[in-house]
């Protein structure tokens, strides 16, 4: 599929290659490409609810981006290839929407929404596991960090905020307390942070074990 942005034409190959090489124009172009396609087609895919639409798109695009960085999708001699080293059969947008479907399922489960019979069928672990392996993890060997990345995307907003401020923004506990006045003491904040990490670790370990042992 060809994308025209500002009268410039980009192919799937160009977009993936540009994304991998961190070319800002191409990163932006792929983002707009996926967003446009998502906005035009999400209604046929999403059942988690309209209000989660933006979150689903964001999480799905982060996964796509990660997959390109990890070369689960890559360009070799001008040909777009998949994880198995074979020429990529489908379109980039279809691949992206597969990730969207997976994220939709995860968020719907998280929100404990009532699913239709058809969706419950799709909820079976075996099918989800395959999708998960294909779209999120490269192989059983490098399941660890990908599963952590996936679990981070499902963290509560509170945990996400605390861990982001501590590990990404490198703020001290005192700085974080100043911005999150609900914590009455440093110890309370430290305990909350620890619990977030522990929850994350448990989720990641569980998923990893299920994938490896299956």
């Amino acid at each position: 599929m060809i994308l025209k942005i500002f009268n410039t034409t980009y192919s799937d190959v160009a977009l993936v290659e540009g994304m991998y090489n961190h070319i800002p124009e191409m990163e932006n172009a792929l983002y707009k490409y996926c967003k446009k396609y998502f906005n035009e087609n999400y209604k046929s895919v999403l059942f988690a609810g309209e209000e989660d639409k933006e979150d689903i798109f964001q999480e799905a695009f982060v996964v796509l981006w990660n997959n390109i960085e990890k070369q689960y999708l890559y360009v070799e001699n001008g040909v777009l290839k998949g994880r198995d080293g074979q020429p990529f059969a489908g379109k980039l947008t279809s691949y992206f929407m597969s990730i969207v479907r997976l994220k939709n399922l995860e968020i719907a489960r998280q929100n404990k929404r009532k699913l239709s019979v058809e969706n419950e069928e799709r909820n079976k672990w075996e099918e989800q596991k395959k999708q998960y392996m294909d779209l999120v993890c490269g192989s059983k060997e490098d399941v660890g960090i990908e599963v952590i990345a996936d679990c981070v995307s499902h963290m509560s907003k509170r945990c996400s905020q605390i861990l982001t401020m501590f590990y990404y923004e490198e703020k001290t506990l005192d700085d974080i307390m100043a911005e999150l006045p609900t914590f009455e003491s440093k110890n309370a904040l430290k305990t909350a942070k620890y619990k977030c990490m522990e929850t994350l670790r448990k989720s990641a370990t569980l998923i990893r074990q299920r994938l490896i042992n299956s």
Partner: protein, 222 residues
Amino acid sequence: MMKIEFQDKIDNYLLNRMPENERRAFEKEMNGNEELQEQLKFTKNVRSVLESRNEKLAKMKKWDEDEQIQVSGRSRRTWGYAISGIAAVFIMGFFLFSAVFDNNNVLTGQTPVTAPEQIPSDDVLSIEKNRKLLASIEEKEIEVLSELRALTSRGNVNSAGEEEKERVSSLKKQLEDLRWSRVKAMVELKDYKQALILLEEIRQSESSYQEKADSLYQILKK
């Protein structure tokens, strides 16, 4: 199972908040402790994931903001073009309208001469004012006439300097204008008899008002 007491040390180690001697001691402690190593590895991975994720989310947010700016800019430009276009149409229409319906001298190039009741005057003056106006015109006329006579009495005008020639020409023009103004004032005062006498003089002379004087003379004569 993670240990909270390990986590503080791990955090300080990863975020370079540990003095050098403590770092060495911690690394030594790690060598013999698999649990600690596992927790360190996990924390490193979480940090790496958070870094990657937040950088991506920040870029995506920037792109959305840029898109919003572009969209609102395009919208403002579209409105700007529309308003400019409408304004241009109005301005052109105004000038066209003015040109077509201007009844002074754009199309005909002539000022119409009408019957005495219709002689245009810039102000509606009372009889008293018209009399005063007439008196001042006559006074001015005498002044101009005196100066003209003084200049022409020096001899042949043709041999005079350029400046003098120009002055004579200007005075003659002034005199013509004053005489025509006097005609108009007389007509305003309905003193047609005097007006006819003056008009006769003007139409017999080589004045620029000769044609107008002739027309008005014919009208007043009737």
